[in-house]
C-alpha cells in the first residue's frame, strides 16, 4: 500500500512538471487548418507582446483590446488573442531569448530596431500580404503612412514592420517658472538655452534648471540622439563608420559639459528615471525637461507646461530632430501565419484604445488617427513642433535604412556611453575613443 502511494505521488509530480512546458504567453496551438465560422475564442490563439508605450493604464488597455479582438471573431476563425506587456528595462533580452529558444510570440511591438535584427536572423514574418490587402481594398492607410515609412521597414524585399507611430523626445518647460525668471523668449540655440538656465538658477536656486532621465540605456540614448542631432552629429557616417570623433560631436559634448559644470543640468540626472523627471516637472522642481510626448502631464498642469521649440547647435542652420518609426512586426515561428496576419491587420486598424485609454506616448503616424486620439492640445503642439517638422529624421541619421546591428548598439546604449561618462563626472573624451573601438567591433561581429 505504501509502495503504491509513493508511486502515485511520483507520477503526480512528473505530470506536474510536464504541464509546465507550455509556450510562454499562453497559447494553445492549432493545426493551422481551423475552419471558418468557428465560435469566437474557440479557434487558434495568437499572442502579442507589446512594450509599455503608455503608463500604468497601458496593460489594462492591451487586455481590453485583446478581448475585443477575440470577440470580433476575425475572419470567422474564432481566433483567441492574448497579450503580454513587456517592461522596457530588459525588453531586448526578453524578445531575443524568446526568439532563440523558439518561444517567440506571434506579434511583437518593441523598440523600432527590433524588426531589422530579427529579419536579419531570418525570423521575421513577411507582412506584405497585409500591405497588398490594403492596396486591394483601396484603404487610405497606405497613403497616410506613406511609401517612405513602408520602404524604411522593408528588408530584402520583405515588409518586416508595419509603422504605426512616430516616437521621439522634445523639450518641455514650466511656464510659471519662466515667467517668474523674466524669460520672455524661448531659446533657439544652446547658447540662448544656457542664458535661460542662468536666469532660472539665479531666481530659483532650489529648482533644477534642466533635467532628463539618465538611469537606463534606453532613456540616455534618446537624450544623446537629441543633443547629437541638434548639431548635425551622428554615431555613424553614411558608410557605417564610427563618427563620434567628429568635430560636431566634440562640439556638442563640450556644450553639455559646460551646462553640467555650471549646474544647469541636475547633478543627479544619471540616476533619474523617466518617472522621476516627469514628477519633478509636475511639481515644479525642474524648469525644463527632455522627454517623450507629453501624455504624462497632469490635468492641473496642462496650462502650465509648454512645448519648447527645437534648439540648434553652432554647426547647423536648422537643428535635426531625432525620431523613430515604431512598428508592429511578427515572427515566422508562428504556428498560425494566416491568423497572425489577420490579427495584426485588425489590431493595426483598431488600436485607438491604446492611445485613448492606454496613454500611448507615441504620435500616430496617420493624420486621421491623430485627429481621433490626440485630444490634448499640448500633445498636438508637440507633434507639430517636433515630430511632424520638416527636419525630423529617423535617429539612424545619416544612414538611410536600418542596419541589423543597430539593435545591439541600442540594447547597451553604445552611442550614449560618452554622455554617460560625462554625467558621471568621468573622462568622456577617453570614453569616445573606447566607444569607437566598440562600435567597430560590433560592426565587424555583424559581418559588415
Amino acid at each position: 500500500m505504501k509502495k503504491l502511494f509513493a508511486l502515485l505521488l511520483a507520477q503526480v509530480m512528473v505530470l506536474g512538471m510536464a504541464s509546465c512546458g507550455e509556450k510562454a504567453g499562453g497559447g494553445t496551438s492549432s493545426t493551422g487548418n481551423a475552419a471558418s465560422n468557428v465560435a469566437a475564442g474557440e479557434g487558434p490563439t495568437v499572442t502579442i507582446w507589446e512594450c509599455n508605450w503608455g503608463g500604468d493604464a497601458y496593460e489594462g488597455a492591451l487586455k481590453k483590446q485583446a478581448q475585443r479582438a477575440t470577440d470580433e471573431n476575425i475572419d470567422g476563425k474564432g481566433i483567441k488573442v492574448e497579450t503580454s506587456m513587456v517592461a522596457w528595462d530588459n525588453y531586448y533580452d526578453t524578445f531575443l531569448t524568446a526568439v532563440v529558444s523558439k518561444t517567440a510570440p506571434d506579434i511583437a511591438c518593441e523598440a523600432s530596431t527590433g524588426c531589422i535584427q530579427y529579419a536579419d536572423m531570418g525570423e521575421a514574418l513577411d507582412l506584405m500580404p497585409i500591405y497588398d490587402a490594403w492596396v486591394a481594398e483601396g484603404s487610405p492607410i497606405v497613403d497616410e503612412v506613406g511609401q517612405a515609412a513602408f520602404d524604411f521597414e522593408t528588408f530584402n524585399g520583405e515588409l518586416i514592420g508595419l509603422p504605426f507611430s512616430k516616437d521621439g523626445t522634445g523639450l518641455f518647460y514650466n511656464k510659471e517658472l519662466f515667467e517668474g525668471a523674466g524669460i520672455t523668449e524661448l531659446p533657439t540655440t544652446w547658447d540662448e538655452f544656457m542664458e535661460v538656465c542662468d536666469k532660472l538658477l539665479a531666481k530659483y536656486p532650489e529648482v533644477v534648471p534642466f533635467a532628463f532621465a539618465g538611469s537606463d540605456f534606453a532613456s540616455l540614448t534618446n537624450v544623446n540622439d537629441l543633443f547629437m542631432m541638434s548639431n548635425g552629429a551622428s554615431i555613424l557616417t553614411k558608410d557605417l563608420e564610427p563618427n563620434l570623433q567628429s568635430d560636431k560631436y566634440t562640439e556638442i559634448m563640450g556644450i553639455i559639459k559646460e551646462m553640467y559644470d555650471k549646474g544647469y543640468i541636475g547633478r543627479a540626472v544619471i540616476s533619474y528615471t523617466g518617472d522621476d523627471i516627469k514628477r519633478m516637472m509636475n511639481t515644479g522642481e525642474t524648469a525644463v525637461i527632455l522627454t517623450n510626448a507629453p501624455t504624462w502631464v497632469a490635468e492641473d498642469m496642462q496650462d502650465k507646461i509648454g512645448v519648447m521649440n527645437p534648439v540648434k547647435g553652432p554647426s547647423v542652420e536648422e537643428p535635426y530632430i531625432a525620431s523613430a518609426f515604431q512598428a508592429y512586426h511578427a515572427f515566422n515561428q508562428t504556428e498560425n501565419p494566416e491568423e497572425t496576419l489577420a490579427v495584426l491587420k485588425w489590431w493595426y486598424e483598431n488600436n485607438d484604445i491604446l492611445y485613448t485609454e492606454g496613454g500611448n506616448g507615441c504620435i500616430p503616424i496617420r493624420a486621421s488617427q491623430q485627429e481621433k486620439v490626440m485630444t490634448s492640445e499640448l500633445v498636438r503642439e508637440y507633434a507639430n513642433v517636433w515630430l511632424n517638422a520638416e527636419n525630423s529624421y529617423p535617429n539612424i541619421y545619416p544612414v538611410q535604412s536600418f542596419y541589423p546591428f543597430h539593435t545591439t548598439m541600442d540594447a547597451e546604449g553604445t552611442g550614449a556611453k560618452p554622455l554617460n561618462a560625462l554625467l558621471a563626472g568621468d573622462d568622456y573624451q577617453a570614453t569616445i575613443d573606447q566607444v569607437c573601438d566598440e562600435i567597430s567591433e560590433i560592426i565587424e561581429d555583424a559581418g559588415y
Binding site: 509513493a6 508511486l7 530588459n90 532563440v100 536579419d120 540616476s271 545591439t408 558621471a424
Partner: protein
Amino acid sequence: MLRPRSKLESNRLGVAMIMPALILMLLLLIYPLIQGISYSFTSYRFNRPNATAFIGFSNYVDIITSDHKFYSTLGFTFLNALGAVLISYAAGFAIALLLNKKLHGRGLFRAVILLPWVISSSVTATNWQWMLNDRHGIVNAFLEKIGAVEDPVLFLANPTLAKFTVIIVGAWKCLPFMTVVILAGLQSISPDLYEAASIDGAGFWRSLKNITLPGIRGVTTMCTTLQFIWNFNNFENIYLLTSGGPNESTFTLPIYIYFTAFARNKIAYASAMAVLVMVIMMVFALIRFRLQRNAEE
C-alpha cells in the same frame, strides 16, 4: 549476508521517492551547467546561430589575456562581496549577541530582523532608490536636517559613492542570514562555560575572545563563505538598483556577463566568463574550508 527483504524494498522506495526531485535538479541545474560549459568552447552568438563553430579554448584565452574589463569588473566584484560580508557579519554578530539575551519582545525583534531577507529584491531596490534620491529621498532630507551635509549626497549618481551604496545595500540584504546563523551558533554554546569563566573573574571581552568566538568558529566559516559566494554571484541586487551604473562603476561580473550575453549576443564568450567565475568560487571555497580545517586541527 543477505539484507532482509524489507530493507531492500525500503531502499527501492527511498530511491523512488527522491527520483522526481533528482530529475528536476538534473534538468534545472546540471543540464544548463553542461550546456553552458559546452557553449564556452564554441563561437555561438544569438544573432548568428547557424555560424556556430567549435573554437576550443579561444574564448578563455581572450578573456584571460586581453579582456581588461573582465579584470576591472572582477576587482569590484571581490570588493563588493567582501565588503557586504564583513559589514553584515559585524552587524549580525552584534545583533545576535543582543537577541541571545533575555530581552522583552525578543521574539518580535527576531521576526523583524528577517525583513530584508523576505522582501523581494525588486521592492527593496525601488525603495532604496526612493530613499536615496537627491531631491526627495528621506536619507538626504535627514542628513540636511541635522546639518551633516549642505548639498544632497549623490548616493546613486556619483560613481565612487555608488560603489559604497551597493555594498551597504548588499550588507543590509545579508544581515538577516548572518544574524540567524550566528544566533544559532551562540545558542549552541553551553551557558556553563560562561558561568565558569565568570567565577574565574573573566569579564565580557575575555569571555567573548575565549568562549564566544571559538564557539561559533564553525558557523562563522560556513556563513561567511556562503554569503561571499552568494554576493559574488548576485545579479539582481545591483542591477535593479543601479543597472551597473553610473557609467558602469558598479558593474560586477554577473552584470558584465549578462550584458555580454544578451546585449552583445556573445553567449559563448559570456559562458566562458561564467565558467571562469565558477572555477574561481570553487577554488575560494576549497581554500577557505582547508584553512578552517587547519585552524581546528
